[in-house]
């Protein structure tokens, strides 16, 4: 069901199995839908977490992603791997939430606007290192953060990331290089 990718994280194995699964879900097979969810729920939750969706919005975000997946299955032609396609949906949605959050954050600076409460950390994530990593990742631009998260945490290949983000592979490499450098720089700044 899972394969170990070059970056070390586990993600679903693409291929004929996914195609058969999609066909079964399309035909209304509830068990297949559950299988698809169980196969991809953890990557989707992990991705939205790493992309900066606050803990109290992750459930809604994951729900929206899977509703979009379900809606889009009729149009899924199998030209991309199912995982790539799901990551693309999750990336689009997480980006949308990020823009909304930034707008909210900007508006909260206005004098008559209620101050947005700081999102509470996920109690399931006890490790303060992960929170610190999230804070460092938040200093990257959304595009660089997405490349870094997809490559380093989700373990996607550069071509797959290019497909998710709709940009050439060389752009992915370039963003990745800059993202790494900026991450290290941000970490050193905190260290000091």
């Amino acid at each position: 069901m899972h394969q170990q990718n070059p970056a070390g994280s586990q993600r679903p194995r693409p291929g004929a199995e996914d195609q058969a699964l999609v066909a079964r879900v399309r035909s209304g097979d509830a068990l297949a839908w559950r299988t698809l969810y169980e196969r991809y729920a953890q990557p989707v939750f992990r991705f939205v977490s790493a992309f900066g969706v606050p803990p109290d919005e992750r459930e809604d975000a994951a729900q929206d992603v899977f509703v979009a997946v379900y809606r889009g299955l009729k149009q899924f032609r199998g030209e991309a791997q199912l995982s790539t396609w799901i990551y693309r949906i999750a990336a689009r949605h997480a980006s949308h939430l990020g823009r909304r959050r930034r707008m909210r954050s900007f508006l909260s600076l206005l004098p008559w606007h209620d101050v947005e409460p700081e999102p509470q950390p996920d109690p399931a994530e006890k490790a303060s290192e992960l929170r610190l990593l999230d804070s460092l990742l938040s200093k990257l631009s959304p595009k660089k953060r997405m490349v870094l998260v997809l490559f380093e945490i989700e373990g996607l290949g550069v071509n797959e990331i290019a497909s998710v983000m709709g940009c050439p592979p060389n752009t992915v490499w370039s963003r990745l290089r800059h993202a790494r450098a900026e991450l290290v720089k941000a970490a050193r700044r905190i260290e000091r």
């Binding site: 939750f45 992990r46 790493a50 729900q63 606007h113 992960l130 990593l133 945490i153």
Partner: protein, 385 residues
Amino acid sequence: MKWPTRKMDDMERWLSETIEAARRRVGDEVARRRVWARIEGLPSGKDLPLRRTRTWALPALAGASVAVGVVAILWMVPAARPIHSPAKLAVSSVAPVSPPSPVASKVVPQGAPAAPVRTGQGENARVALVGGAAVELDANSVLGWDAERRPAVERGQARFEVPHQAPGARFAVSAGPYVIAVVGTKFRVGVSDDRVSVEVEQGVVEVWRGARSVRLVAGDSWAGPMRGLAPPAVEHRPSLAGASSRHASPADSPASVENDPTGMELTEARSALKDGRPEDALAMLSHCAKGAGPAAENAAYEMGRVLRDGLRRPRAAIAAWGAYRTRFPDGLLRAEADLSIVETLARVGDNAAALAEAQAFLARYPNSERRDEVAQLAARVRGAP
């Protein structure tokens, strides 16, 4: 992380290890289960889950534009800058609100749902419902009662004020093909020829259509297409008359109380827990756990969390998770329940039992992502006096 080809320093090593930990990030399995409970019915129904929108965006953007304009003008004309606080400037830039015009007002006594209440041009009405709920009808609106004798907004705008309901009890309003269910809140319902809208002022509201729902919190608004005026199908949510002392029978009340085995009670329980009402949360979960399906399983597991973290009753929590294991021996939250028992036993100082449970966990789940965590806990417990 495999970036630098040269030797890594401490910071790079830390980053590498933390990214490695992020790859293994398990997250909250209960959250995943909750999401599943909401989307599991998708293949069986034609309707898709309803969506919500935030009402703050447009007014806030308009406010931001005004503020930017005011700031720009003040910046360009410093000599004319008045000594006002920004808040006063903002307020003065908002168009004045006209005082409410005098209108006729009807008060319909509670328990009189026989005929629809209609308001004409320039008229409004206040309708008292049993259980302390009240509805204010705007002009040109109609409030009737559906086949389940729930208040039904047939046309126009209505604002509901619903006092907090007893655990497990729920107040429901119908609007076209939708059912709006609440525990205790203030919200507006609008019905026009082609759509139904809901705006939440306080509390939590769920809008249902068939087996699909959307959860709205204060500040949210939502609109859905009308698609005919048939009352919503409620057969999947049988009436729970008698399950609570606050439940009203259809014969004496326009407000009926419904049960939703697919997760609504869980949502309310979470909301109650967040509001500092763990007893209410526990009552809701206990009620929900008596049902069937994923929501019941979630509730059976979450009872333990409420008992331990909300009510500070760790022993009762362990018993609740034990009950979960008995009922759902192969449940999706089984590993979480096992782990919670290990952690809680260690927390109350029952080291022998904690160690036994930890060893059983390691034997049962040799490939668990939580294995390291449990092994560490077992080592700590073993080393404890």
